[in-house]
Amino acid sequence: MLDTVSAVFAMLLTPLCETILMVAGTTFFSILLGLPLGVVLNLTDPVGLKPRRMLNNVLSRVVNLLRSFPFLILMILVFPLSRLIVGESTGTKATIVPLAIAASPFVARVIESALKEIDPQVLLAARVMGSSTWQIVYKVMIPEAMPSIVAGITLTVINIIGYSAMAGAIGGGGLGDLAIRYGYHRFRTDVMIGAVLVIVVLVEAVQLLGSWISDRMIKKR
């Protein structure tokens, strides 16, 4: 029994690292893309600080399109792009490309709606003091919305973990790949259960950490 557990554990170790790398990389790049996109969506909204109806409409449509796009199809479509950026179309690093493309519109909406919650009167106060739009964004809006942003990003990371398991099925590596290859194709139920358990623990850990950070920020206020 103990032998099986340690054997399964040994098999899980590398895929776990791959999953963590995939999720961390995806989170990083989706914030890199999604944060500015969310800020622009908020600013250009008809009631935002810099209303631009046309631009807002176009961006909003693109975001919706990407959000509703089936992930597996997106991943296959993005293969050439992954090859261009990473040099290969499958594998852990390459899979970060479609994952980040799929996750960044989520992040953009998270940021957009977190910024929308800010009291417009507080932004008025910042404006009357002569803040530039850029100063309002990075000195007022983002800090004011930080607890909601953290809560929203936490949800996104949990989604990314789910997607990364799916991506594993078509050559992404990680725990999803392991679960399919051993658990499904080779009937190694123990490996499959192990992989699923580790994913559950990972999700739980991310949720706990995210809630803790967000709560701490609110309590400090």
């Binding site: 009167q121 106060a125 800090p143 004011e144 400090k220």
Partner: protein, 224 residues
């Protein structure tokens, strides 16, 4: 100091400010009174250059301000201060950092920010609250932080939009006394909006009455 010449402003065809002309003398405590919906806040947003009038002129010390753009507009706004009914403090910043904000945005050096913030907090009698989150303050304390923040850049003009409407009578008196003291000792001009005559007569030496977007009377009050 500040003069308005036939200012008009409409929102979607609804004329909210109907040709207002005003002269606010230097170092006066100028009250604007009117009912809810009379257009008081809109008028303040126009005077503080947050919005542009549809027509008319706004002059500060004889210079047109309503036509300013980008950098010049930001620079002009930085010479004005404003406090609000709901205080509008930044909840992500503590007391000290709220007051430091206007200094940060003009690019003041760290070494020069701290003494200035401490000086202002001493002025509003909140020195011991420096590191407190603003949510832990009482209404009166919040308004005093807001006043300190508004004064940080040494404005020549301070706008107050119903600064005491969210406060109890006792706190109202103390905030009004503070504003009077600030006007006297810092030599600035104060424009205060209110719907309560008691508040105006306790502080102002001029009062303009606003009704449905027009000034219907201007009186000088015998007041120190």
């Amino acid at each position: 100091m500040l003069s308005l010449k036939d200012i008009k402003k409409s929102y979607c065809g609804n004329q909210v400010i109907r040709g207002i002309s005003l002269e606010v003398p230097q170092n006066s405590f100028y009250g604007i009174i009117g009912r809810s919906g009379a257009g008081k806040s809109t008028l303040v947003r126009l005077m503080s250059l947050l919005e542009r009038p549809d027509s008319g002129e706004i002059l500060f010390d004889g210079e047109r301000a309503d036509v300013l753009k980008s950098k010049a507009l930001l620079a002009k706004r930085r010479s004005l201060g404003m406090v609000f009914q709901q205080f509008n403090l930044f909840s992500s910043r503590n007391v000290f950092d709220n007051v430091a904000y206007p200094l940060e945005i003009i690019g003041a050096k760290k070494e020069s920010i701290a003494p200035r913030v401490r000086e202002l907090l001493a002025w509003v009698d909140l020195s011991e609250k420096e590191t407190s989150p603003v949510s832990r303050l009482s209404g009166g304390q919040k308004q005093r932080v807001a006043i300190a923040r508004a004064l940080a850049n040494n404005p020549s003009l301070l706008f107050c939009d119903e600064p005491t409407s969210a406060l109890d009578p006792q706190t109202t008196v103390s905030i009004l006394e503070l504003l009077k003291k600030i006007r006297k000792e810092m030599g600035l001009t104060v424009i205060m909006i209110s719907h309560q005559m008691e508040v105006i007569s306790a502080t102002c030496n001029f009062v303009a009455e606003l009704e449905q977007g027009a000034i219907v009377s201007v009186k000088e009050l015998k007041h120190a």
